[in-house]
Symmetry: C2
Subunit: 297 residues, 2 copies
Amino acid sequence: MNLTHLKTFVAVAELRHFARAASACNVSQPAVSHQIAQLEDSVGAKLLNRAPRRVSLTVAGEVLLEEARRILAAVDRAHERMHEVSSGAVGRIRLGASATPGLYLLPSLLADYRESHARFDLQFQIGAVDEIAERVIRNDLDMAVIAGRPPTDELRMQTLLHDELVAIGAAGKARRTRTRESQPGLDAQCWIMREAKSTTRREVEAWLNRHGIVPARTMTFDGPDAVKRAVTAGLGIAIVSKLTVEEDLKARRVVRLDLGFPLPTRTVYLLDHPHKHHGAACSAMLKLFSATFPEMR
Amino acid sequence: MNLTHLKTFVAVAELRHFARAASACNVSQPAVSHQIAQLEDSVGAKLLNRAPRRVSLTVAGEVLLEEARRILAAVDRAHERMHEVSSGAVGRIRLGASATPGLYLLPSLLADYRESHARFDLQFQIGAVDEIAERVIRNDLDMAVIAGRPPTDELRMQTLLHDELVAIGAAGKARRTRTRESQPGLDAQCWIMREAKSTTRREVEAWLNRHGIVPARTMTFDGPDAVKRAVTAGLGIAIVSKLTVEEDLKARRVVRLDLGFPLPTRTVYLLDHPHKHHGAACSAMLKLFSATFPEMR
DNA sequence: TTCATCGATAAGTAACGTTTATCGGCCTGA
DNA sequence: TCAGGCCGATAAACGTTACTTATCGATGAA
């Protein structure tokens, strides 16, 4: 039993006429006879009574007609949905991000996207870099934005922008602003750090290590917002992404510190799967990224 | 797009592996590649991401997987139902009858049938002979039982039994029983007749005509029951099928009259369509008829 | 680097569906 | 009553389709 059999059968059942069904299906009459004969063989029952000048349905034929209509309707529906998908009328994008770009870079961009592509289903998720990259590899996510190099080379990386790290302290201790901290002073600070899996934390630790700074005290907070709050509250100093504190520096909620050594910069990458065929929703997102970030070219 | 495409695609999507899908479908791996390529062409979208060592679904693929499962489930369901029908696990019979056999011959037989074939849908309908025969021709009915020859030769006729007509009168006028009525006496009777389209009525009219009896008064009643009630109430005499009055004669509700001329007999036929393929339910009914009526052989 | 895995590709072959031509049955109308 | 037309079945030839085996190229693992 295949779809041609069913289409032919439905035509014959509705027209009650082999030859007319044949022209309706754009085939010759013997082809219809053959199709019906095959179908009857495959279901093991006569479907049609061939009385002279009168074709009628057997019980089996009526049952099969009902089912055939159901099947063909399901096929039509499938074609319709595929057309919607391939024409870009509907779509879905599952975007991931690490905390810094997810909280400070993407929200406004996603708002633009949602506005101009309301018909697409937009899913967004923030997570640790490793987890996000793994999900892109497994195709649980379509693409992801992360700060710093991902832990894998399986994915395509496109540069979105370059991000600086900056040192910040509480606004109340403004006297230190623009003042070089001596290294013992840096050791003595309480360093506010991101959670263990954070890229920022790894970069900060590498920097501290590189300059022989051994913090006397550290405190760990989950996410850039929590780090900022801790700094604002005077709990210590921190090295954070400039992206996360531009507003706060302007508003003088925190002040920038000059630690005496240059702080690293890092790259914000867009990750996606090199072998993946992007649908309309993903292509639109790529286009938006490329329009927003000249670096991406 | 055909069912093979969909089955192959579902196998690949579930196993996420072309070669394993191939062996699951009992075909070679290139056949699977080919099927998927064709399917992607026919829906106009890539369905699978072929990353090295990792096959995953595109958005279009996920949509189609959903639809393909729906379609294949509908096909399975169709096969199941067809199997039920052709194995005789389910069935349907639409039986028609004219008034006399429908009211006096079939009810007990249908009770037997329903008891031994509860799984079959039994539909029964009483109507005028012309209408019933037409419905059998159009395959609105599977078969029918009628008294007397049908108005068409398009249908197969099988003899069930021979039925006598008998003349009856009200029980109170018992003196007439077994007494030859003179012909003027017959003319003078009020004749209770069946409705115009009744076979019985036509036979009675032919008989009256043949013997030169011209009823002075006639009354028409719809159906054999109404005729009997009219006779019982003393409204007149009637010629009716013996089938309809056997009980009433025994119970002395009516008496049999001897009108001096032999009354005709007629045959009760089973009608069905000569080109029709009977399902299990109809075959069972034919078997029951043939067991019940030795005439049918 | 070498080997194994995996999907794509090529070429040959087998199977299938469709076509034209024709048959046989049946109904219709002169 | 017979000729003509309608209708579905059948036969043979043809073209297409879908499968097979063999092989390639790319990729990852040992």
